[in-house]
Amino acid sequence: MSFFAVENLGVRFGGVVAVDGVSFSVNQGEVYTIIGPNGAGKTTIFNLIGLIYPPTSGRIVFEGQEVRGAPHDVAERGIARTFQNIELFEHATVLQNLLIGRHRHRQTNLLDELLFLPKVKRAEIAQREAVEKVIDLLDLQHYRDSLVAGLPYGVRKVVELGRALATDPKLILLDEPSSGLNPEETDDMAFWIEDIQKGLGITVLMVEHDMNLVSRVSTRVLALNEGKVIAEGTPADVQAHPAVVEAYLGGGE
């Protein structure tokens, strides 16, 4: 029984088949990367895993149980994700964004909170401590009380990552973590992904275009084209695979 598996997953939007019979499984503790040209269906797969829309075929299994319901159920199971185009809470501070990430760990109910009983205060301090660990890891101290709306792109990407980490997930889905980042920031991102995997023991499922980053951090790679799987294996194997080279990496003429 694998840690996380996708079985024969497929979805169509109107006449367009975005994902066609995709199956793969991810082992606990590895970094599994999905690569492929734009429009291959990578983000669509993430959206399907996150139950943002339902698949037309196939199923998703996590820790032996099928993943179904609504997106908040996915989060409750311990699966977190980041978004390609950054979906942060713009009118809140970085700290508040991270604290919202702790939502699934709340232990107080509405009545407790209206009265702000001592246990609410204790819970708040505990959440704050948990969030501060993430802030320390990602060096976000400087931006704690800044409104997200005014922050530069690179910082927002990091906050997006931080918010996903704050949920204390078992599996984290990173959608193009290095897109829009300069080489130095990409380097930082690589270190963080390694920290997440080895230091925090979180399994990483990632979509990426930057092949250097892919080679550096991935345990295994899946190549997708036009909604179908075309190759799977170690980074070196997949990058050398002729179908992948033709579809995506650009073969020499």
Binding site: T43, N47, I52, F83, Q84, N85, E87
Partner: protein, 293 residues
């Protein structure tokens, strides 16, 4: 029995045409700027007043009054866009809705303050007078016939306009991605202004058609509230939808007024809109709203 049904049907269609015209104005503005103009009913009311002025005070013939009201209101519509709407494009939906509600209040207030208009109810004379037609046992007034015919004519004109004029395409672009439209060289602000002018002109047209049955007074615009259910039923963002929706609401009202107990007639359109929103929110011809992530 049949003549009874036909009577109700025709009355419903005639009233529905007025709702359709106001709803058309909504939809035009919504398609262009994703703004909903809650003042559309009051714009209609102002148009009716201008028509009244031309007809009663200046003594012009019917056709001239229509033209006068339409042209003046087109200018007013463009003015509203320029002064009030342009600064707030891009603000959240809710905020823009509230600003149009504010415009409605201003229009209503100003109308009551004009000496010749004031708070009384006025009648607008039409060349059809009180003549009626008899169709298959049903009685329909010439005013109602004129409403239906003129509305149909206007729809045809608009259809041709959007089919064969560049404004239609430009309008769609500005509503979907304003920044990109700017980059493509579309004069976004001018397009928006023209759309508001057009929507106001259509509303003025509707106001004059409505005047014989509803009389001209400063609270006439509240009838425009029923155009919201019309636009929703037809599908917000669809021009044919606005017309179809308007007709449906008109018919629902006519039949509810006859077959259902007292009071249901007034809330029938709102019950319909709630039902539609629950089960078919995009209406008959409408769009889906979903953020792509």
């Amino acid at each position: 029995m049949f003549s009874q049904l036909l009577q109700l049907f025709l009355a419903g269609v005639a009233q529905g045409c007025v709702y359709a015209l106001v709803a058309l104005g909504f939809v035009l503005i919504y398609k262009a700027t994703e703004t909903v103009n809650f003042a559309q009913g009051d714009v209609m009311m102002l148009g009716a007043f201008f028509g009244l002025t031309a007809s009663t005070i200046l003594g012009w013939p019917y056709w001239a009054t229509i033209l006068f009201a339409v042209i003046v209101m087109a200018a007013v519509g463009m003015l509203i866009e320029r002064i009030v709407i342009r600064p707030v494009l891009g603000y959240p939906t809710f905020t823009v809705v509230m600003i149009t509600i504010g415009v409605g209040y201003i229009l209503r207030g100003v109308v009551t303050m004009v000496p010749a208009w004031g708070t009384e109810t006025h009648t607008l004379r039409t060349p059809f007078g009180d003549s009626v037609l008899r169709v298959g046992g049903a009685v329909i007034s010439a005013d109602q016939v004129a409403t239906i015919v003129l509305t149909a004519a206007l729809c045809l004109v608009l259809y041709l306009f959007f089919r064969y004029a560049r404004l239609g395409v430009a309008m769609q672009a500005t509503s979907q991605n304003q920044l990109a439209a700017y980059y493509m060289g579309i004069p976004v602000q001018r397009v928006n202004m023209l759309i508001w002018g057009l929507a106001a002109a259509v509303a003025a047209f509707g106001g004059i058609l409505l005047a014989p049955s509803a009389f001209v007074h400063s609270n006439m615009g509240f009838i425009g509230l029923k155009a919201f259910p019309a636009a929703v039923v037809g599908g917000f963002g669809s021009v044919p939808g606005a017309v179809v929706g308007g007709l449906i609401i008109g018919l629902v009202e006519a039949f509810a007024g006859f077959y259902l107990p007292e009071g249901f007639k007034d809330i029938a359109p709102y019950v319909v809109v709630l039902v539609v929103l629950l089960f078919m929110p995009s209406g008959i011809f409408g769009e889906t709203i979903r953020k792509k992530v």
